[in-house]
Structures are given as C-alpha cells and as structure tokens.
Amino acid sequence: MRFDLEPAYILHTRSYRESSLILEAFSREQGRVALVARGARGSRSRWKNMLQPFRPLLLSWSQRGEMGTLTAADQVAAPPSLMAEPLFCGIYANELLMRFLQRSDPHPGLFDRYRDLLGELAGGRAPQAPLRLFEKHLLEAAGFGLLLDREPGSGEPVEADAWYQYVPESGPQKRAASGSDGDLLVSGSALLALQSGVIAPRHHRELKGLMRHLIAHYLGDRPLKSQSLFYES
C-alpha cells in the first residue's frame, strides 16, 4: 500500500541501525503509524533536521505489514515555536497520543485538535484550558468518552453549585461537599465547563486533578513520564 502526502506530525523518533530512524507519526487520515526513515541520520540525508516532533509535515510512505517505509517528507509551514513550558506541554501531548492511540486507527478530528493545541501552546496562552480540552477529546477518541453533564443511572443533570465525585468508567456522583474522605471532589460548574469547552481560570486546579486521576486510571501501572519534567528538581 502506498500513501502520498499525508498531513502528519512526528510524535517520537528513535535511532535505528547505523543511520536510520524509526518514526512514530500521527497522520490525519491513517492515524498513528510507525515508519522507517532510511539514512535519515546520515550527513547527506534529504530529511536532515526535518523529522522532528511538532513540525507540520506531508509524509509519503509505502506499507507492508506493521512498519512502513518513508519515501518522502515535506515541511508545509514553519513549526510552532515551542519553548520552555509550552515545549514540555507539547511533549506531554505526544506521550498521551503514543499511549492512548492504537496504530492505524484514524482520528482526523483529534488530529485537528492536536494541530490547534500546538498553535495555542506556541501562542503563549495559558496552557491549562487547551490541554484539558485536548485530554477530553483524546479520551473520547480512545473510547473512554466522559459523562460530564448528568449522573449515570439516575440521569439527573449536573448542578453547577453541587459537588461530585467522578467515578472512572461511570460518571459524576453527587457528594456532600464536606464529606471528603480522600475522594477527589469536583464542582458541578467545573464539570459543566469541561463539557461546554469554556474553562475559566478558577476551574484549572480541579480539572487538572480530575484529568490526571482519570488518565492515571486508564494507563494503569505505567504512569506518564513527561509529567516528571514539570516537577522542580
């Protein structure tokens, strides 16, 4: 099978043999694919410097079996300039995509969200809100869509001024605000904000805690590594 000029981002590269690379790319139409870029690390490579994460690329490859062979790569635009914290956020997003997406499972909607996320990170906006929405869409694409606006079972709508405990794989359950026995409580207004996509700064902390909890639940006993970048040494 041949694929031509597919919009894609590279999520991760690793050295392969003497001068080649194995790329994990996220393409819009084909989903996550693993590609061998022969000779990409050599001094006379045509793709020198180009096969890096966060650059908007058009990739062409041929595929037989699980691993494809890169035949052409073009950079379509200047890459978003990710420095400092936004760079860490980008690496975090890449790790999420690597962990949650199966190979050759296309998610064009999520691809567009990812492109927008990189733009927002590079634009110097506070990263919290775009990251939370990206996480929500990623979980949805991976088949773990979140119930945010009503309680499971009863179907009662979530009330903005009530408190909820979010039970993974189920949904929000109303709790008395004071009855915190180590459970993670989230306000109804934060849940509704995540549902609507308009997240105010006052919700950042709660929603970060909620998403971290849910992501850790789905990833099991191999936690995300990129979170360690954010901690002070």
Partner: protein, 200 residues
C-alpha cells in the same frame, strides 16, 4: 559457514562495532590474521585494557582512566565556566573546534520522556549537587538543537536559576559556508530571530 568456530566467533564479535556488517567483519578478521598479526595482538591488549580501566570522571562523567579526567584535574582551566553537553563526543568536538578553557559536565543522554528517560534517569541530581556545592560563574548549555535537547536545556535553565547561576546557550543559525537557500525553514527562522546587532 565454516568448520572453524574460533574464526566464526572472531568475525561475529567484530560486528558489535558500528557500521560493520558481516562482509566487513570478515574482511577485518582476515586482514588481521593474514597480514597484520602484530597489529591484531596490539589491538587485543589495548582493547582489553581500555575496557577494564576506562570509566567515568567523578566530577564531569566524561570518559577517563583516572578518578577525575584531565580537563577537571587541570588547574589552568577556568573553573567558573561550566559547559553542559550530551555526550563525550560533544566534549571532543568543542575541544577541537574552540579555545574553550572552562570545564564540562556530560549528561550521557538527554531528557526523553517518551523513551522513559526523565530527570531521575538522567542523573541530574549529580549536577544539582555540583551546582549547589560549587556554583560556576556561568553555565553554558550546549545540548543538541533537537526537541529533546531543547527540553533538556530548559530543564537545566530552571535548575541553574534556582541557584542564581548566570546561563548562556550556544547560538543556533546558518552553518558557515552554507547557503540560505538550502537551509531549512526552522534554522533560518531561528537565525533571524536571534540576529545580532553589528557595531558600526
């Protein structure tokens, strides 16, 4: 291949060298056996000694057969300058190309969370101890301009800032003798945004 297990083993062992496939391994082995036995014996003793004795410098983690490497032990070098690089080959490159007279710290890798390498795996606590114990007057960050190298650089900046150590980074730009037309977009963008004023 043949009925000569030692010869086969010899050829097979040579393949651990980078860029050496079955054909070149065979050529090397036959060359040593047929034409240069003394060279082969010499190689064997030096190889064994190197594998046994060369370890890591206790201060900068560069390769050395001493407790501290020649650069760290040299009193003539400027101890107020500390250059952070990813690998021993970067030290060699800088030593050959520049007149840098400060000291080094070799990371032996870079932060690469997707490969499972975070600050702890990279052993950055050793560097943190050094920054706290003997803070340099300037920390020069010379990690590679890749995404992982950039992430490492930012992490190092944050570490240095905690100890109030002035930080600099080596410049990225158009290679000397190169042409703008054939330089990739990101490099040109970087070179442009970090252009320098020329004193007139």
């Amino acid at each position: 291949m043949s009925q000569e297990p030692l010869l086969d083993q010899f050829i097979e062992s040579l393949r651990c060298l980078p860029g050496v496939g079955p054909k070149s391994a065979q050529r090397m082995a036959l060359h040593l056996l047929e034409r240069d036995r003394n060279g082969g014996r010499h190689l064997a003793t030096v190889l064994e000694a190197a594998m046994e004795r060369i370890g890591r410098c206790s201060r900068c983690r560069n390769l050395t057969e001493q407790e501290t490497c020649a650069i760290c032990a040299n009193d003539q070098r400027d101890r107020s300058l500390l250059c952070i690089v990813e690998s021993p080959s970067d030290v060699i490159a800088i030593e050959h190309a520049t007149g840098y007279q400060g000291q080094y710290f070799v990371l032996m890798g870079r932060l690469s969370p997707l490969d499972g390498i975070g600050p702890a795996e990279l052993g950055l606590d050793a560097l943190a101890d050094r920054l706290a114990g003997q803070p340099p007057g300037e920390m020069i960050i010379a990690t590679n301009p890749t995404v992982e190298g950039e992430a490492t650089a930012f992490y190092l900046q944050r570490m240095a800032r905690k100890h109030d150590i002035p930080i600099s980074r080596i410049a990225h730009g158009v290679p000397l003798g190169g042409e703008l037309e054939f330089t990739d977009q990101s490099t040109i963008a970087h070179a442009f945004s970090s252009r320098q004023r020329v004193e007139s």
